[in-house]
């Protein structure tokens, strides 16, 4: 594997012995070899090393630790109140964005970062893209949620994380029998670049697997977070009552343009697929975009199962609230029949994916510590003998921000040895708490203007 050895490169001891020992296990079966019993003491020690170092750097973490009275991590339960939810990374007042108060946005982001970004000159920054690029240029890359509705989250990252992310992902693919080889046409159902994590995944695939010049994206441009910003501004104007009907028409026109751009991109990618010849294709995207591609390809006469031999497809994330037909999975898998399906389970909040072994079970790398919780996320569940609950994770490799997150995922964790012979922890994704349907039955007469917004702007 090429790339720098991040741990060895730094001054030692950087994070303490336990973190280094766990994070160093990247390649082959090393991250999955040790059993829960062997790992736990080391993981607890590593969590404490991370906590002691980070609380001096991250203001929000220090505040939280003081609030809950945690000074040391001696068991998994100690880290539970210190796990950050997605809310933490979108806790900025939205007016900072809509009013272009970039100094304040930076100050807010600074409370979540391991490095000090104060004093950074924001003069001349015009929009949220400009803000993100100014920070990146100063060595403070960040990642934004790609959600087109609701409030965007911003996660501080670092150059080291970008490198960790690349190495972990390539190592996981190699573990699954796909060592880096530059022999594919790489297709991404996203943007060519930009501060969204799916873009990072596409870049890693292209770096590891694309034939020279054979990289294609649905949008051959940088992803823009200004669109999210614009939506936020629109929603705020509605709440404030400063919106004009013409603004709404402009917004709907923009939505139509975006739809047209997507359709044009899909047609361009279908031409790439049709012209692939014998070169295998590696394609990566979310469910909604993949379904759109598959349906358009069929309509354009591309037969199911007709991709070149050795092709690989990968689909990230769940349907994410998109309105998809009941059989969307069958529709997509049917089209890719004969190609290899790569299934990785990861999320934007962490650097590391989980990889499937030869028994098609997901293994958790030893530098990613799972913390299993009850539905409310408050009580820790013991998974020494396997258990099901809400997933919390601590990514020991995380450099730019705090590595502890609580997810909305319901998972099962197994600790007994896998049939493939590996002893490490395994994870089975069961569902998402946020996908649960249900109306509001608890009635109060209290409500805000947010309830009075309807249509596409309503998150």
């Amino acid at each position: 594997m090429d790339g720098v050895d991040l741990v060895a490169e730094r001054d030692t001891p950087l994070h303490g012995a336990a973190v280094d020992q766990l994070v160093r296990a990247i390649d082959g079966e090393a991250p999955y070899a040790r059993s829960q019993a062997q790992l736990l003491p080391l993981q607890i020690a590593a969590l404490d090393e991370r906590f002691q170092k980070r609380r001096a750097q991250i203001k929000v973490l220090d505040q939280r630790a003081r609030d809950v009275g945690v000074d040391r991590i001696t068991r998994l339960a100690d880290i539970v109140p210190l796990l950050f939810s997605h809310q933490t990374y979108k806790s900025y007042p939205e007016s900072f964005l809509t009013r272009g108060q970039w100094d304040r946005m930076t100050k807010w982001l600074g409370t979540l970062m391991t490095k000090d970004c104060s004093g950074l000159d924001m003069a001349g920054v015009e929009d949220v893209d400009g803000w993100e690029q100014r920070l990146a240029a100063a060595g403070f890359p960040l990642r934004a949620s790609s959600g087109t509705t609701g409030k965007a989250s911003f996660l501080p990252w670092s150059q080291a994380d970008i490198e960790w992310h690349r190495r972990f992902n390539l190592a996981a693919l190699a573990f699954q029998g796909l060592p880096p080889e530059h022999r594919y046409i790489c297709i991404s159902m996203g943007n060519a670049s930009g501060p969204h994590r799916p873009v990072d995944r596409s870049r890693v695939l292209a770096q590891g697997y694309a034939k020279p010049g054979q990289i294609y994206n649905l949008f051959e441009r940088r992803a823009s977070i200004v669109e999210i910003n614009r939506l936020g501004a629109l929603r705020k104007a509605m709440v404030d009552g400063t919106i004009a009907p013409a603004d709404l028409i402009t917004y709907e026109t923009n939505v139509a343009q975006r739809t047209a751009e997507t359709e044009a991109g899909v047609q361009r990618l279908i031409r790439v697929i049709k012209g692939a010849g014998d070169t295998p294709i590696m394609i990566h995207g979310g469910w909604a975009a993949m379904l759109q591609l598959v349906q358009a390809a069929r309509a354009a006469g591309v037969a199911d199962g007709s991709l070149p031999a050795g092709s690989v497809y990968e689909i990230g994330g769940g349907p994410k609230g998109a309105q998809l037909p009941d059989d969307y999975e069958q529709q997509v898998h049917g089209f890719f029949a004969g190609a290899r399906y790569m299934s990785l389970y990861g999320m934007s909040e962490i650097n590391q994916p989980t990889a499937c072994c030869s028994c098609a079970r997901r293994h958790i790398p030893s530098s990613l510590v799972p913390i299993l919780l009850d539905e409310t996320g408050e009580q820790v569940l013991d998974y020494a003998h396997g258990a099901t609950g809400r997933l919390g994770l601590f990514d020991l490799s995380m450099e730019g921000r705090w590595g502890g997150v609580i997810t909305s995922d319901l998972v099962r964790i197994e600790t007994d040895p896998c049939d493939c012979g590996l002893h490490g922890l395994r994870l089975e994704f069961i569902g998402r708490y946020s996908d649960q349907a249900g109306g509001d039955d608890k009635l109060t007469c209290a409500g805000t203007m947010a309830a009075y917004i309807r249509g596409a702007i309503d998150p």
């Binding site: 203001k59 929000v60 505040q63 939280r64 609030d67 939810s85 809310q87 933490t88 806790s91 900025y92 007042p93 939205e94 007016s95 304040r104 100050k107 807010w108 409370t111 705020k236 709440v239 404030d240 009552g241 996320g377 099901t388 319901l410 069961i430 569902g431 708490y433 996908d435 649960q436 249900g438 109306g439 509001d440 039955d441 608890k442 009635l443 109060t444 007469c445 209290a446 409500g447 805000t448 203007m449 947010a450 309830a451 009075y452």
Partner: protein
């Protein structure tokens, strides 16, 4: 999602552990746990009697039972009912109070106070005021009117068939619906909210004890289904059975109901609202006036569960003055929390939003802790997150009139200190969308009978105005 997932995520309700919901159908008290549910707010397991929809609707072939009951007799009956709603002597009410804490986030003392003050909703003077204000006179039945050309007409506020989607933030909501429903003399199906499943059935059971065959008793039913339960709602929300759906709040609930609206079925919506306060510079005259203003504002915050609860407070003064006010307000909020004996725990989302602002000094400043006992956030303009659990946002403005630009159609009550500043503010506030301007501290001082609510008189919307013309 696979069925496997649905099962894993579905709340498991043990029949034996479930709290039985009592339904009262036209005076008949129903028990029995056929249907299992889980309450929204606190996740309490619930068991409701079978859903006999045929018994829940009032057939159009039968005239409304109380249609021609003289209004004096209606009020006499309500007066007797009010007298029986004594928490110490009424077993139905006692049970409602004892179970309320399992499904409602109000503190124990606030709930007790709510049940002990139910009698005021049945006071004759308030009933008179409600009837006369909403319907234009104390006339009963058909009222003769001479038209411009000298011809005669008789008009009548005719009883309607109403499905009420009740709100449950306080016990008084059920009493209000039953009183207004009785005064309208129509027929009423009350859909119980999961945060107050017990008050309306307790009142209806008390009515049945007075006289199970009384026309008013025969005019009411109270049943539970989960809001949005499609099978039930799509069968009931039809003009064949009801003239009106009266939604007493809840954004999601109203959106739910709206999809069933069609010609012949009217939605009377008491929209979800928020309320604000304006504390003018007179509050800073001396320490006593500052405390007075903060105390009145604290009363208007209350448990912060209702539309009338103050959430954003505009201070006519400097940042330093606003900060002095914030410290004083925090004391008052804690006093309120103490008096109520608890309340909603600060939700984690709100805690994170406020904690983020704590680190944004000096643009933002925070007083108090996210413990549900009072939290004050000072900012340059109103914050964007929902304020709940006694969390107040204080915004300094140079002139009180600037607060009007933050008023919109979701603004219900604006409390003003001192009272004499209302005159200079009220037109601007109402032009922005506010519907009620009060002296600070008086927002929840008395029942809403006899005054407009949400820009109309609810009782006036609960009848159909019909005419007999010559």
């Amino acid at each position: 999602m696979s069925s496997h997932t649905q099962e894993a995520l579905a709340p498991v309700v043990e029949r034996d552990a479930a709290i039985p919901i009592v339904q009262v159908i036209r005076g008949r008290v129903e028990t029995g746990g056929e249907r299992l549910y889980r309450s929204r707010d606190l996740g309490a397991p619930l068991a409701a009697p079978a859903a006999d929809l045929n018994a829940w609707v009032f057939p159009r072939s039968e005239p409304q039972p109380a249609m021609n009951l003289p209004i004096g007799e209606v009020m006499d009956f309500l007066g007797e009912l009010g007298a029986r709603l004594d928490l110490d002597r009424n077993d139905h009410l006692r049970r409602a109070f004892e179970l309320a804490g399992r499904v409602n986030v109000l503190g124990a003392k606030a709930l007790e106070q709510g049940y002990r003050s139910l009698g005021v909703f049945f006071r004759r003077d308030y009933l008179d005021a409600e009837y006369a204000q909403a319907l234009g006179s104390m006339d009963d039945g058909w009222r003769e009117v001479e038209r411009p050309d000298g011809s005669l007409m008789r008009v009548r506020p005719f009883p309607a068939r109403i499905l009420h989607v009740l709100a449950g933030n306080a016990p008084g909501m059920a009493a209000t619906a039953i009183v207004r429903g009785s005064l309208s003399r129509g027929v009423h199906l009350l859909k119980l909210p999961s945060n107050d499943l017990f008050t309306a059935p307790a009142i209806l059971a008390t009515m049945a004890e007075i006289d199970a065959n009384h026309p008013l008793v025969q005019s009411f039913s109270a049943a539970y289904w989960r809001g949005g339960e499609q099978q039930i709602e799509s069968a009931l929300f039809r003009p064949q059975f009801f003239d009106k759906v009266m939604a007493w709040g809840g954004g999601d609930a109203i959106a739910n109901v709206q999809k069933y609206m069609s010609p012949g079925l009217e939605l009377v919506s008491l929209d979800p609202k928020t309320s604000i306060s304006i504390i003018c510079r007179e509050a800073f005259a001396n320490d006593r006036t500052l405390m007075q203003a903060a105390a009145a504002a604290g009363v208007d915050v209350g448990s912060q569960e209702a539309c009338g609860s103050s959430r954003v407070q505009f201070i006519e003064g400097s940042v330093e003055e606003a900060d002095r006010y914030c410290a004083e307000l925090l004391d008052q909020l804690r006093f309120q929390a103490e008096t109520a004996g608890g309340g909603r725990v600060t939700p984690s989302d709100l805690r994170e939003e406020v904690n983020a602002l704590r680190l944004m000094d000096p643009e933002y400043r925070v007083w108090g802790e996210p413990d549900g006992r009072g939290l004050v956030v000072r900012s340059e303009e109103p914050v964007e997150f929902d304020l709940i659990s006694r969390t107040v946002n204080v915004v300094p403005v140079a002139n009180a009139i600037e607060a009007a630009k933050y008023v919109n159609v979701a603004t219900q009550t604006v409390g003003v200190y001192p009272a004499q500043r209302k005159v200079g503010l009220r037109d601007a506030l109402c032009a922005g969308g506010a519907q009620r301007v009060t002296t600070l501290g008086a927002g929840g001082a008395r029942p809403s009978f006899g005054r407009p609510h949400d820009g109309f008189y609810p009782l006036n919307r609960m009848v159909r105005w019909v005419a007999d013309e010559d």
